[in-house]
Symmetry: C2
């Protein structure tokens, strides 16, 4: 038994006008709850400090950069790190990262229980588009404001286990889980901001979006025999609804805990990292069963090439 | 609209004592049903002509080879091919293949509507083990009796679309779907023989096995925006129960038709191959979204290597 008590700290909506101090205050209240619940690790959403700004078209880079953090921790987030250190709780959360040399990433970090950052991940699979798209019912400009992550999918020996991160749309791509699975990942933590309506198919609403969300998390967990912790920013941001569906999935692909609201809400589960072992030794013992000689297209070819 | 009417022709159990002529008779009766239902294609299970013999330990190769076919079509299956040609229905089914040079494969074929074989697939992901395992409640000796397939995961321009095949345990591996997805696959057909109990975890019964089965089919379909047609050999073979769960999954990951029995049963659905286009153009437009520079481990490394 290697129990890791995880708090999946869903955030309700963050409006455009809300400031980071207010949001950090909400994150600290969830951390207080997590401390009382005995959590070892608290996971917050993607872009946890602000509204999901890629829904807004901007062409002035000064406006864009206002949504980014140039340091982490910084003045706005220092109280969260301080409180986490006092509580002895590790953190993971997402934010927009502007590097000293001017690169923009959709980033998440992992700290240890002293509030020291031990891992950084930069979102690899950016959804959406990079120019204003008049055919969409709303914009999704991640490809405009971010570069694809340049760190791959590392995992970390942390918190008594092997921990990995990904962000939002990464969870729809089996490659995400598999690259971490090949490093023995035992828990993948991720945040997401998922519009409750498909901007290119308006009849696809929240129910169908939650179905796809669960399907990807559960299959990724099962097929790599790993825990998956997925945390939403939920609810209506400036008129734009986001799905909830914060959940914890066990290495058998089963949902063991799930949020009930679209507001700030802590979902807690005690995860035994040793539960990953059965699948990794049997049906998904990669060393015995994978046949990489037939997987070549996966890394040789980005897009589709039809047969002759 | 490119409608392809598919009949997923589940077979109930085939006992060890049953002969191939009897089984082919059952397959023809399902084909008769399929013709009446207007099917373009009928898909039968893995190892459709015999009982699932890898549950039996054999050490005399003559006994083993008795379960294999050296030609296809052959005397036993010729009536099925003849009937299919008359009906103008394409076929896919699985059988144990012994090649002229002595190789053993778990194989499936695809014919056109004239009964001509246009595609052959050999199972890549062989589950189980190659020696008698006294710790299991029953044996699963696919690694003893078969070599891993040597043809990769090709797809075929057939029946007005792009068709691929895989077999049973292949469906649990996201690489299977992805390699075909990268060739623009629009429908993947597969057969399976899945024990209703995990031989290494007896508390995992039919319900959980069906959950994993659906999870893999549905995520593979969604993440590659392809139809998936999965066909069981079901029911109790010589005391060993197999799950049913023959089903047709649409490119949105939804189950649109599913068997109701553990017996011979035809599940029919009219599949519009153009339904694959929306996903392939948007969220799973691989050319725009995949990042192969971060997938290297998938083809470079078979087993797990833990981080330092």
């Amino acid at each position: 038994m290697r129990q890791l008590v995880v708090g999946a700290a869903q955030l309700g909506p963050i409006q455009k006008a809300d400031n980071r101090a207010d949001v950090v205050g909400r994150m600290i209240r969830l951390l207080d709850d997590a401390e009382r619940a005995g959590c070892d690790l608290v996971v917050y959403p993607e872009l946890a400090l602000t509204t999901f700004f890629p829904r807004w078209y901007m062409d002035d880079q000064v406006d864009v950069d206002g949504w980014f953090e140039t340091d982490m921790p910084n003045d706005a987030t220092a109280p969260l790190f301080t409180r986490a250190r006092e509580a002895g709780v590790a953190l993971s959360f997402g934010y927009a990262e502007l590097t000293p040399d001017g690169h923009h990433f959709n980033t998440s970090i992992l700290t240890d229980k002293t509030g020291t950052i031990v891992g950084k991940y930069r979102k690899v699979h950016l959804p959406g588009h990079d120019q204003f798209d008049p055919d969409r019912t709303f914009q999704h400009l991640e490809k405009r404001y971010f570069e694809p992550g340049d760190l791959g999918f590392p995992v970390w020996n942390a918190l008594g286990g092997v921990i990995g991160m990904c962000i939002c749309n990464d969870r729809r791509w089996p490659e995400t889980y598999r690259v971490m699975g090949l490093q023995g990942v035992e828990m993948i933590v991720l945040g997401f901001n998922t519009p409750a309506v498909n901007s290119q198919k308006s009849e696809e609403g929240a129910e169908k979006r939650l179905f796809h969300h669960r399907l990807c998390l559960q299959s990724g967990a099962y097929q790599n025999s790993t825990w998956v912790v997925a945390v939403a920013k939920a609810g209506i941001e400036d008129g734009h609804p986001l799905i909830g569906g914060t959940m914890i999935v066990n290495p058998n692909g089963e949902i063991v805990a799930e949020s009930q609201s679209l507001e700030d809400e802590l979902v807690v589960h005690s995860c035994d990292l040793d539960d990953t072992q059965f699948g990794k030794r049997t049906i998904f013992d990669f060393a015995r069963h994978r046949r990489i000689e037939h997987y070549g297209l996966i890394t040789r070819q980005t897009g589709v090439k039809a047969p002759n």
